[in-house]
C-alpha cells in the first residue's frame, strides 16, 4: 500500500493490510481508503455471522466506515454504518461530535487497554462480532435499555432509586474533561446549576411495548411524543416564555426530562417509568427563537431575551435542533444492589448482629454492599485507635460507639438505609432489653459476631427464629460459621458442642484451637489481643467468606457448621464442612441435657459388636455452669482392660486419662469427661440395675464435690436410658427410643 491514500494511522494500515493480504478469507473487503483532513477513513464491507432469525435486521454484508481520528492511534477508531436504512434506533449508538454522525458503540473497554492487543485482524473481528451479537440479540440483556449506553462521550444524570416522577432539581453538578454529571434531588436547593433549566413533564401512561427508536433532533422528539398523545411543542412554547426562563435565557440550556409511565394493560396500574433526558445544543434564547417564541436584543445590561410578538419571529425547522441524549443512571436501592451483586434473593433479610468489631463490622459492610438486608447492630463498646486496623470504623470514629458508627457507615453505602443500632451488652439485662428481645424475635436471622461462647449460649436460650455464630479461630486464620437452620431442631450451643468434638477428632482441624488462651474464654483472641499481629487482609478475606456464606445460609434449611482454614503463607483456603447431628433433649426447671445422635449410634454399634456381653465406656461433653446445660457429644468404646460378660461390665482405665487430656487440650479445655455408659443385652430393659445404681452413686460421690455434671446412659436393644445429676440442680431422667433400621 502506498501513494496518496496510505493511512497515517498504524492501526488503519494494519487493518488494510489484513483485509487485502490475509491468507485466510477475512470476511471483509475494502471499498475505499481515503482521508478527511487529519482523519484516515477506511470503508469496508463486512460479512456477518447471521442466523436466519435476527433480533435486529442486520444484513449479511454490512458497509461500515472506520474513522481513525488520530495518526498515532491515541483515541479509539469510530465505526459508522454506511447503510442508509441501518436500524440505528435498535442498537447501541451514540452521537459523536468528532465524526459528525452516529457511531456504533463497539467498545466497552477503555481504549488504552484495548489498543494494546488490537491487531488489524482483531479490529475486523471485533466489529464483525459486534454486528453478529446485535443480530442474535446477545448484546442486549432483556431488561437493558437499548440506548444510549456505554456512551463514554455522553453526559450523565443521576437520579435516586424509585420512579422518575419529579419534580426534580439539580442538586449538584460536576464537570470533568468536558463531561457533565448532574445529581438530581426532589428537594430544591438555592443554587441549582447555572447552565441548565429543567423542563420536566410526565407523559400519558403507555401500555408496555418497545419504545424503540429514540430521536436525535427536536422534530423527532415532537413526533415521538405526539404518538404518545403529548403535545410537546405547546408545552415547550409556554415554558420558554415564562419569566424565569427569559431571565437567564442566554446563559442556560434546556434539560428536557420526559417521563413515560408504563403499564401492562389499558386498565392496569402504572408499573414502571421510563425517563428520557435530552439537551439541545442551543441556549434557551436560541431555542426560543428557533421555535418562534422569543427574540433577543442587546442593551447596556447585556443580552436580553423577551417573548416575541406573535408572527414576528419565523420558526425554524425543528429538525435542525439537534438533541444530545444523557446517560441516565439511578442510585441503588437494596433490590438493585442485589442484582448487581448477582444475588437471586428477592426480599430484604431482617438481620440482627451482636458485635460490631473486626468480623462484625466487615461482614455487615460487605453484606450491605450486596443488598442482603437491614441490620440491627447490638454493641456497647467504643472505637479505640487500634480497632481501625481490623475494623471498618476509621480514625474519625475513635471514641464513638462502634454500633453507632457502623450503622451510620452502613446506611451510607446505598441510597437506601434502614440499618439500626442498640447500644447494649446482650448478656446484661438493662434498659434496652425490651428492644433487643423485640428485634431478635422479628429477625430472620440473629448473627453472633461477638466471639463469645456466652453469647452463643445466650442465643440458644432466646426466642429467635434462627441463630448463627461467626467467629475467627484464635490465631485469626480460621473462620467458623455455625447455624441452626430453619425450625431450630438443633440449637446453637448444641452445634457448638459438636464443633468442639470435630476440632478434637477431625485431622483437618488439627491445631485449630491450639493457640487458644484458656484464661480468657473467647475464641478469637487475636482480635482482642494487641500483642498478636493480625494483618487486615486476613480479616477481610475471612470476613468476605463469612459475608459470602450469609445469603446461602439463609437459603439452607438444615443446620450447618463450617470451618474455613486460611494458610497465610500461600493464601489458600481449605473449606471443611462438619456433620451436624440431631440431638435428644431432656430438661427440668433446673437443668438441661442434650445428647447427640452420634452418641446413641456409637453405643449401639459397640453394643452390637460386644454381644452377648455387656460393654460400655466413658462419655465426653461440654457444660455451661451459668446456664445449667450439659451436652453429651461422644461415647467412647470400652478401654482394653475392661471386663465384659453377659451379665455385667466393669470399665477399665487403660490409656483413658491421656485420651481425655488430649481431647481437652485440642479444644481449649472445652471437652471433658461427663459420665459413663454401658449396654444391656437383649431381653434386659434399659433401666438401672442395683449395680448400676451403685455406679451412679459412685459418680455422685466423685463429681458432685468437684461441681461438674455427670450422666449415666444405659443402651438397650430398643432404647437408651439416661440420668443426669448436678449438685443442687437435681437430676433428670429420660429415654431415647432407637430408630429401627
Amino acid at each position: 500500500m502506498s501513494g496518496e491514500d496510505a493511512p497515517r494511522s498504524r492501526l488503519a494500515r494494519a487493518l488494510v493490510q489484513y483485509v487485502r493480504e490475509s491468507v485466510d478469507h477475512p470476511y471483509a473487503t475494502i471499498r475505499e481508503v481515503h482521508r478527511d483532513g487529519e482523519r484516515d477513513l477506511v470503508d469496508l464491507d463486512l460479512e456477518i455471522d447471521l442466523a436466519q432469525d435476527r433480533a435486529v435486521p442486520i444484513l449479511h454484508r454490512e458497509p461500515v466506515r472506520i474513522v481513525f481520528a488520530s495518526p498515532n492511534d491515541l483515541v479509539a477508531p469510530r465505526v459508522l454504518s454506511l447503510r442508509d436504512d441501518f436500524p440505528s434506533g435498535q442498537v447501541h449508538t451514540n452521537l459523536d461530535h468528532e465524526v459528525d454522525g452516529l457511531c456504533l458503540c463497539i467498545w466497552e473497554e477503555g481504549w488504552h487497554d484495548l489498543s494494546r492487543n488490537l491487531t488489524g485482524q482483531a479490529l475486523v473481528e471485533r466489529i464483525r462480532w459486534w454486528f453478529a451479537g446485535i443480530a442474535d440479540g446477545s448484546l442486549h440483556a432483556e431488561d437493558q435499555v437499548l440506548e444510549p449506553l456505554i456512551a463514554t462521550t455522553s453526559d450523565t444524570i443521576v437520579f435516586p432509586p424509585g420512579n422518575f416522577v419529579g419534580p426534580w432539581f439539580i442538586d449538584e453538578a460536576h464537570e470533568r474533561r468536558g463531561q457533565v454529571t448532574l445529581i438530581m434531588s426532589r428537594e430544591r436547593k438555592d443554587a441549582g446549576d447555572p447552565r441548565f433549566d429543567v423542563f420536566q413533564r410526565v407523559l400519558p401512561s403507555q401500555v408496555h411495548g418497545a419504545l424503540a427508536s429514540r430521536p436525535y433532533d427536536m422534530g423527532g422528539l415532537v413526533e415521538l411524543t405526539a404518538r404518545l398523545d403529548f403535545d410537546l411543542m405547546v408545552e415547550l412554547r409556554a415554558w420558554l416564555i415564562e419569566p424565569e426562563r427569559l431571565a437567564a435565557a442566554s446563559e442556560r440550556r434546556a434539560l428536557f426530562l420526559l417521563v413515560v409511565p408504563k403499564r401492562r394493560t389499558d386498565e392496569g396500574e402504572d408499573e414502571s417509568h421510563e425517563a428520557w433526558v435530552y439537551t439541545p445544543s442551543e441556549t434557551l434564547a436560541e431555542l426560543g427563537e428557533k421555535l418562534g417564541m422569543t427574540s433577543s436584543y442587546e442593551d447596556e445590561g447585556g443580552l436580553r431575551t423577551g417573548a416575541a410578538l406573535p408572527g414576528t419571529v419565523q420558526p425554524a425547522d425543528p429538525r435542525t435542533i439537534r438533541l444530545f441524549s444523557w446517560r441516565i443512571v439511578q442510585r441503588l436501592d437494596r433490590a438493585t444492589a442485589r442484582q448487581f451483586a448477582g444475588s437471586t434473593r428477592t426480599e430484604d433479610a431482617r438481620l440482627v448482629a451482636i458485635g460490631a468489631g473486626a468480623i462484625g463490622s466487615n461482614v455487615i459492610m460487605n453484606a450491605t454492599h450486596a443488598g442482603l438486608g437491614t441490620w440491627t447492630i447490638i454493641d456497647d463498646d467504643i472505637v479505640l485507635p487500634h480497632n481501625t486496623v481490623r475494623q471498618t470504623q476509621t480514625n474519625w470514629a475513635v471514641g464513638h460507639l462502634k454500633a453507632q458508627v457502623l450503622a451510620f457507615e452502613a446506611n451510607a453505602i446505598l441510597a437506601e438505609g434502614g440499618n439500626d443500632l442498640i447500644v447494649a451488652d446482650v448478656l446484661r439485662v438493662g434498659a434496652e432489653t425490651g428492644r433487643i428481645v423485640a428485634a431478635m424475635r422479628e429477625a430472620d436471622l440473629v448473627v453472633d459476631f461477638s466471639a463469645s461462647p456466652a453469647v452463643v449460649g445466650n442465643l440458644a436460650d432466646q426466642d429467635v427464629r434462627r441463630a448463627s455464630s461467626f467467629f475467627f479461630g484464635p490465631d485469626g486464620s480460621d473462620l467458623v460459621a455455625l447455624d441452626e437452620g430453619h425450625g431450630r431442631t438443633v440449637l446453637l450451643d448444641e452445634i457448638e458442642a459438636q464443633y468442639f468434638l470435630a476440632v478434637a477428632a477431625c485431622p483437618a482441624l488439627e491445631g485449630h484451637l491450639a493457640t487458644a488462651r484458656t484464661d480468657r474464654i473467647r475464641y478469637a483472641n487475636a482480635c482482642q489481643d494487641l500483642s498478636r499481629p493480625l494483618p487486615p487482609w486476613q480479616v477481610h478475606m475471612l470476613s468476605g467468606l463469612a459475608a459470602g456464606r450469609l445469603p446461602s445460609l439463609l437459603e439452607d434449611a438444615a443446620p450447618s457448621a463450617w470451618v474455613w482454614r486460611l494458610d497465610p503463607d500461600t493464601g489458600s483456603v481449605l473449606p471443611i464442612r462438619l456433620d451436624v447431628q440431631a440431638t435428644s433433649r431432656f430438661a427440668s426447671d433446673m437443668l438441661r441435657v442434650s445428647v447427640s445422635g452420634s452418641v446413641i449410634d456409637a453405643m449401639r454399634t459397640y453394643r452390637q459388636k460386644a454381644a452377648p456381653n455387656e460393654t460400655g465406656g466413658i462419655l465426653i461433653g461440654t457444660f455451661d455452669l451459668v446456664r445449667n446445660v450439659l451436652h453429651v457429644v461422644a461415647a467412647l468404646p470400652a478401654p482394653p482392660d475392661s471386663r465384659q460378660a453377659p451379665t455385667y461390665f466393669v470399665r477399665g482405665a487403660q490409656d483413658l486419662r491421656p485420651l481425655v487430656d488430649d481431647l481437652a487440650s485440642a479444644t481449649a479445655g472445652r471437652l471433658r469427661y461427663v459420665g459413663e455408659w454401658h449396654s444391656h443385652p437383649n431381653g434386659a430393659a434399659a433401666r438401672p440395675s442395683s449395680d448400676d445404681e451403685g455406679v451412679f452413686t459412685y459418680l455422685r460421690q466423685q463429681l458432685d464435690p468437684a461441681g461438674a455434671p455427670y450422666a449415666m446412659l444405659i443402651c438397650g436393644r430398643e432404647e437408651t436410658w439416661l440420668r443426669t445429676a448436678w449438685q443442687d440442680r437435681g437430676q433428670v431422667e429420660g429415654v431415647v427410643a432407637h430408630d429401627n433400621d
Partner: protein, 371 residues
C-alpha cells in the same frame, strides 16, 4: 446444533449432515480433486470427510442420489463395500445404510464407479439389509422374482415418494427426511434417465422448537420439480416444500428452472416460481454446488449465469444468501461451506482464522483433532 457441509468440488455434489446426537448422513460423494494439478482449487474430499468423521469408522447413511460420476466419483476407493473383498479392509469407511433410487439397482449397461455401486446396491438389496431403495416400480419386483426372492420380504427396504425415511425421526434425531422423488413412473432403467429419477428430498430439522428445512434436489430437471410441486400441492403438503436451505438442482443449470435460459435471468416455470419465491423462509440460503458463476455464456455446461441471477434475487428478497461452493468464501480460496442449524435457524459459519491474533468474540476452532 446440527451441522450441514457442502464441499468445493466443482460441478459435483457432496453434502454431509452431522446431527446433534452424533449420527451422520452423507448425500453423494464425488471426490473430483486432481492431486497432480497444483491449480486445482477443488478440495481433497476424502481428507475433508475423514477430518469430519474425527476417527469414526462408519457413516450411518450414505445416499447416492443417482450414479453419475459427479455424485459418486472415488466412492469405490473410499468406502467399504460388502460385495467384494477388494473393496474391504484398511481404513475404508463403512456405510451402515445405503440410500439409492430404484434406478441405481435396475439400470443396465453401466460402467466404472456406477457399475460397482450398482453391484453393491443389488447385493445389499438381495441380502435384505443395509439399504433403502426409493421408488417402487414393478420392475423392482421383477428384479427380486428373477432372483427367487419374494418381493414382500423386501417391502420394508423400499420407501415411496410422499413418505418419511424410517432411519431418522424428529424425536430421537432432531431430523426427518421426506422423500419427494423418484415416483414410481420416473424410475426408469436407462442410464439416460438418471437425472429424472434421482432422489429429491426435504430434511426437516428441529432445534429448540425451531424447525429448519432443507431441500436437496440432486440434478433433477424442471419437469420433475414441476411434477413434485403439483403432486405435493395436490396432497395439501405445501409445508413439505418449504425451505430455509435450498441446494439448487444440477449445479445451477437453467434447465432445472425452465427450458428457456433467458437473456440475463432465467424465468422459472410457474410452479418453480412458487417453490422458490413463496416457499423460501426469511433469511434462507440458496446453495449451488458448482463451479464459480461465469460472466459469459461460452460454456454450455452449468452453472448458467442466468439461473444464478434468478436464485441470487430470490436470496436477496429473503434477506438470505446466495452461495456457490467454488466461490465460498472466496473464489480464489474456496473452502467447505459449513452451515450450523440451531434454535435461530440456519447460520453460515464465517470464521476468519488468519494469523495468530486472538479472534475476539468467538470460540476458537476445535483443536486436537485426529488426522
Amino acid at each position: 446444533m446440527h451441522v450441514v457441509r457442502f464441499f468445493p468440488i466443482g460441478n459435483a455434489d457432496s453434502c454431509l449432515i452431522e446431527l446433534e446426537n452424533g449420527r451422520r448422513v452423507l448425500f453423494d460423494f464425488a471426490d473430483m480433486h486432481n492431486a497432480d494439478d497444483q491449480y486445482d482449487l477443488r478440495c481433497d474430499l476424502e481428507k475433508e470427510l475423514r477430518d469430519c468423521l474425527d476417527g469414526a469408522k462408519s457413516i450411518d447413511v450414505v445416499a447416492f442420489t443417482h450414479l453419475d460420476t459427479d455424485h459418486c466419483a472415488r466412492a469405490k476407493e473410499v468406502f467399504h463395500l460388502e460385495h467384494a473383498k477388494k473393496y474391504q479392509g484398511g481404513d475404508r469407511i463403512k456405510i451402515e445404510t445405503m440410500w439409492v433410487p430404484a434406478t441405481a439397482i435396475l439400470e443396465e449397461g453401466v460402467k466404472g464407479q456406477a457399475r460397482t455401486l450398482r453391484t453393491e446396491a443389488r447385493q445389499r438389496f438381495i441380502e435384505g439389509e443395509g439399504i433403502r431403495v426409493f421408488g417402487r416400480p414393478e420392475k423392482l419386483d421383477q428384479f427380486l422374482k428373477d432372483r427367487g426372492i419374494d418381493p414382500k420380504t423386501r417391502r420394508n427396504l423400499i420407501t415411496d415418494a410422499g413418505t418419511l425415511c424410517p432411519e431418522f425421526n424428529l424425536g430421537s434425531d432432531g431430523v426427518e427426511f421426506f422423500v419427494h422423488s423418484p415416483f414410481a413412473e420416473t424410475c426408469g432403467d436407462s442410464v439416460e434417465y438418471r437425472n429424472g429419477s434421482a432422489i429429491f428430498m426435504q430434511a426437516t430439522f428441529v432445534v429448540g422448537g425451531r424447525t429448519t428445512k432443507m431441500i436437496l434436489s440432486a440434478d433433477v430437471p424442471h419437469e420433475v420439480i414441476d411434477d413434485i410441486v403439483r403432486i405435493t400441492r395436490f396432497h395439501k403438503n405445501d409445508h413439505r416444500l418449504e425451505w430455509d436451505i435450498n441446494n439448487v438442482p444440477h449445479h445451477c443449470s437453467y434447465l432445472s428452472l425452465a427450458d428457456d435460459k433467458g437473456k440475463d435471468k432465467t424465468v422459472p416455470v410457474e410452479r418453480l416460481k412458487w417453490l422458490y419465491e413463496e416457499q423460501g423462509r426469511s433469511g434462507g440460503l440458496l446453495v449451488s454446488t458448482s463451479k464459480p458463476i461465469p460472466t459469459n455464456d461460452d460454456d454450455k455446461q452449468p452453472p448458467h449465469r442466468q439461473a444464478a441471477s434468478y436464485y441470487k434475487d430470490v436470496a436477496s428478497d429473503l434477506g438470505g444468501e446466495w452461495l456457490v461452493t467454488m466461490e465460498h468464501p472466496d473464489k480464489n480460496k474456496p473452502k467447505p461451506l459449513v452451515i450450523e442449524i440451531g434454535a435461530t435457524g440456519s447460520k453460515r459459519r464465517k470464521i476468519a482464522a488468519a494469523g495468530a491474533a486472538t479472534v475476539l468474540g468467538g470460540a476458537a476452532p476445535r483443536a486436537g483433532r485426529r488426522r
